[in-house]
Amino acid sequence: MTGLTHLTMAAALDGLAKKEFTAVELTEAHVKAVETIRPLNAFITETPEQALAMAKASDARRAKGEAGPMEGLPIAVKDLFCTKGVPTTAASHILDGFKPEYESTVTSNLWRDGAVMLGKVNLDEFAMGSANITSYHGNVVSPWSPGEAGNWSRQLVPGGSSGGSAAAVAARAALGATGTDTGGSIRQPAAFTGIVGIKPTYGRCSRWGVVAFASSLDQAGPMTRTVEDAAIMLRSMCGFDPKDSTSVDLPVPDFRAALTGDIRGLKVGIPKEYRVEGMPAEIAAIWDQGIEWLKQAGAEPVEISLPHTKYALATYYIVAPAEASSNLARYDGLRYGLRVEGASLKDMYENTRGAGFGKEVRRRILIGTYVLSAGYYDAYYNKARQVRTRIKWDFDEAFKQCDVILTPTAPSTAFAIGEKMDDPIQMYLNDVFTVPASLAGLPGMSVPAGVGSDGLPLGLQLLGRPFDEETVLRVGQVIEKAAAVTATPPFMA
């Protein structure tokens, strides 16, 4: 039943409810799909036995009339979420052999609601990257890569850091996947692979049990093939968690109910500063197209100004590495993961961390260490925190004039592995449109809007007021329907 892997979550829930198939059948199809897409290197750990056991339990619950909101839906979990008894690597050598004795809050919520785990998917090491090329477990290949599987004529990146999540969902090996977004790690790979990805407001999803990259920015969110699926999965993922001091104690709305399609009278902000110099014509064109679609649906575009946009990347590349340099200090070879012995404790630390961290992680730890060090704190770190405040203020002002903001998600379509690799700054520029909302803690979503001249997916980004994911999802679905993208990746399960 290969057709099962091409269903949306909503359709799968329908089929399960109507007993057209069982969770076990749905899961078996996906387990097979996971094997099929191995050439993409999307999974670090496959958990077929656990998946089938969970599916069986799910069928039993459904039979008892106890079906949860995601009952029986097979999903992939970014290998940044700690999963009890299942290796959790953060795609880093330094977490070699680490098997958590605990389960992250977000994944616990998903299992509570009936979801089934297919395995742990690849990512950039510690979620640091925009192309999924920094993983210790190897690059992830986008299913959009042309050529034969494993013998691609051009190996495209799936984006990052949630590259494995994006590839698995786009290639129809999972109905959805968890992602995490620190500066665009859900939205950019969603755009590169033609799927939907939403980063909710900071504080919506608990960070407990998610390997930390930059604590003040990290947020989990769903990656799915439709906006409706994102609404279903987001509802299960979020919720107040007393174990996370930054978790917000607010009720979780029924996001699916917000998808009314009615956006009449809504003011859509178009930030003029996002028309960056050298923006490719097709990016500008899809953006204009998006504005047009929303106008046709009765929304009103308004030009807004986010004057500090151009400083967002620089701010991000101080704040995130600074926090990361401290968050990653716990990987010392003492209590879990890799240990490379040394004559002294200091040698053991340096050997372990020298061998355990990849180049990009090392680069960011060093930058972070530097900007926090004596004599530089004010000039770099504190300055960046002040600029961050101004960026937040920009959005506060903007949302006085509009209800939602529309921008492109990424400055280009997916690029090939090997491109943009030598120059860290070039790579960082991928996040130019996604980083500002991360700094301001706002909800942001990427929706497939079309394909570029190279036939590769293009995404549009919607940003909302804090805790107004509902508007973001509603407007996103209007674009999704108007765009009606039919292109699918050449390589699918």
Binding site: F81, C82, T88, A90, L95, F98, P100, E101, Y102, S104, R207, W208, G209, V210, V211, A212, A214, S215, S216, P242, K243, D244, S245, T246, A322, E323, S325, S326, L328, A329, R330, D332, L334, R335, Y336, L345, K346, Y349, T369, L372, S373, A374, Y377, Y381
Partner: protein, 483 residues
């Protein structure tokens, strides 16, 4: 001012103390693991305390309350807005690779501590700040020749770091500071002050200077765990520094260790490297905001503290400052005294408590809480003196028996037949016998040698085994001698 005499003249010691006081709480500062002392290694460790991936801190409200209570007890400014920072450094018993502490914005600001010096005088030492932070784990170096063992039970336990101004000038003052701080913490119930178990540890900053000169370069002696060691370490360190300077050397600012077997301070090799702690606000936590009404509520529940108690003891019971000091230094002692003094002569009560009782306790190595003589029984003893059942002298004998057996004074008096003789007839016959046996002395007395009166009293008491009522003896003896 007391100076140290060097080769080149007088030197003054400048001392500041950083005291780490473990907060009394059931659970740790940022995790729900237990804090009890002496548990099996790593048995009171949560995944948060061991810094597993993805673990997050959530603050214990009682620890905040304890810090505020302590701040109020130190008459300090309570900061309604404070921030938790990460202090980043690598160490085997620091699992996170950083300690959550408070750096620029601590929960408590400037306060003060009044030192009660042995000569009865007092001196005020400034408290710079108090902040909350996590304790580290424990490294055990003697389990294995080539390895260090790590126990994280203490990791994450709440500490208050209480920093003094460099206001102390002698080792004695430093000792008095720690004693007084410990007393206040115990009164408040915020720290048990048990230095042997490590619930109170001192970092001692010592520098020397010529009187009136600017501060010299200081050395920090880490983790000194008894008041005696604090004082010894200061004495040693000051002399070491003076010697170096007088020999033309220069003091290196460094961290040192008090060697409790050799009685010297020595440089800590592991802390030699220059530190760059890279403090920054912990992004896993938000700023701590206190409600002023909540702080007021805590203030209202503060117990009477040693300084106030001392003042009250002096005014209410007319005690000497010295006695008052001795009694208020520990709340249990003060409570004991007040129980004894209630409805009795307070000076007598104070004498018995500070004299006999403390003397015996001291000799037996017991705390007041372990006293075999209860406050009620000591009061009973004083009552027996007051109603002439026994004399003061006999009372001491009774007290000794009370301390040994814990029995009631009245029972001891009965059992031992120590009741005072008040039968004038019996006394008279004893006196007659004494006078008859010492006719020569009687003559001397009558010829003007008044001082012999004491001799006769002694003889009579001896003859009655001390049980005769001294007042009656005096009265009858005087009548008979004059007659």
């Amino acid at each position: 001012m007391s100076y140290i005499q060097g080769e080149t003249g007088d030197w003054e010691i400048v001392i500041g103390l950083e005291v780490h006081a473990q907060v009394i709480s059931n659970a740790k500062l940022f995790s729900g693991a237990a804090t009890a002392f002496g548990a099996e290694p790593n048995s009171q460790v949560s995944f948060v305390d061991a810094a597993f991936p993805g673990m997050l801190p959530v603050i214990n409200e009682h620890c905040i309350e304890q810090a505020v209570r302590t701040g109020l007890g130190l008459k300090a400014q309570i900061n309604l807005h404070s921030v938790f920072d990460r202090k980043n450094y690598f160490y085997a018993d620091l699992p996170q690779g950083y300690q959550i502490s408070q750096y620029l914005q601590p929960i408590v600001g400037k306060g003060e501590i009044v030192l009660d010096l042995p000569d009865g005088s007092s001196r005020t030492v400034g408290v710079t700040r108090l902040h909350l932070e996590q304790d580290a784990g424990k490294s055990l170096h003697d389990q294995h020749p080539a390895k260090t063992y790590i126990d994280l039970n203490r990791s994450g336990v709440a500490l208050m770091e209480i920093v003094s101004e460099p206001d102390m000038r002698t080792a004695e003052e430093a000792g008095a500071y720690v004693r007084k701080l410990r007393s206040i913490l115990r009164y408040l119930g915020t720290c048990d002050g048990n230095m042997e178990e490590g619930s109170m540890r001192c970092d001692v900053n010592v520098s020397v200077r010529k009187p009136g000169a600017p501060f010299g370069t200081r050395c920090e002696i880490k983790n000194v765990n008894s008041i005696r060691f604090v004082m010894q370490a200061i004495e040693y360190e000051a002399r070491r520094q003076i010697e170096i300077i007088e020999e033309g050397g220069k003091i290196d600012q460094e961290t040192r260790l008090w060697d409790t077997t050799k009685f010297v301070t020595r440089s800590m090799r592991s802390k030699e490297e220059a530190h760059d702690y890279r403090y920054f606000p912990d992004p896993d936590l938000l700023p701590l905001e206190l409600d002023p009404a909540w702080v007021e509520d805590i203030k209202r529940t503060l117990p009477e503290l040693p300084d106030d108690k001392k003042a009250r003891f002096i005014s209410e019971y007319k005690l000497s400052p010295y006695d008052a000091n001795v009694l208020v230094s520990e709340k249990a002692r003060a409570d004991f005294f007040e129980a004894v003094a209630k409805g009795r002569d307070p000076k007598l009560a104070a004498n018995w408590v500070t004299g006999e009782l403390f003397g015996y306790l001291n000799k037996a190595g017991k705390e007041i809480e372990e006293s075999p003589v209860s406050a009620e029984n000591l009061g009973g003893l004083i009552d027996l003196i007051a109603d002439n059942t026994i004399s003061g002298r006999i009372a001491k004998e009774v007290f000794e028996a009370m301390f040994e057996t814990g029995e009631k004074p009245a029972d001891i008096v009965e059992k031992k037949g120590l009741r005072q003789v008040t039968d004038t007839g019996a006394i008279e016959s004893s006196i007659d016998a004494v006078l008859a046996a010492n006719a020569d002395k009687v003559a001397e007395f009558r010829s003007g040698k008044d001082k012999l009166f004491g001799f006769f009293v002694g003889q009579v008491m001896k003859a009655t085994q001390g049980k005769a009522n001294p007042a009656l003896v005096n009265e009858i003896l005087m009548t008979k001698l004059k007659g």
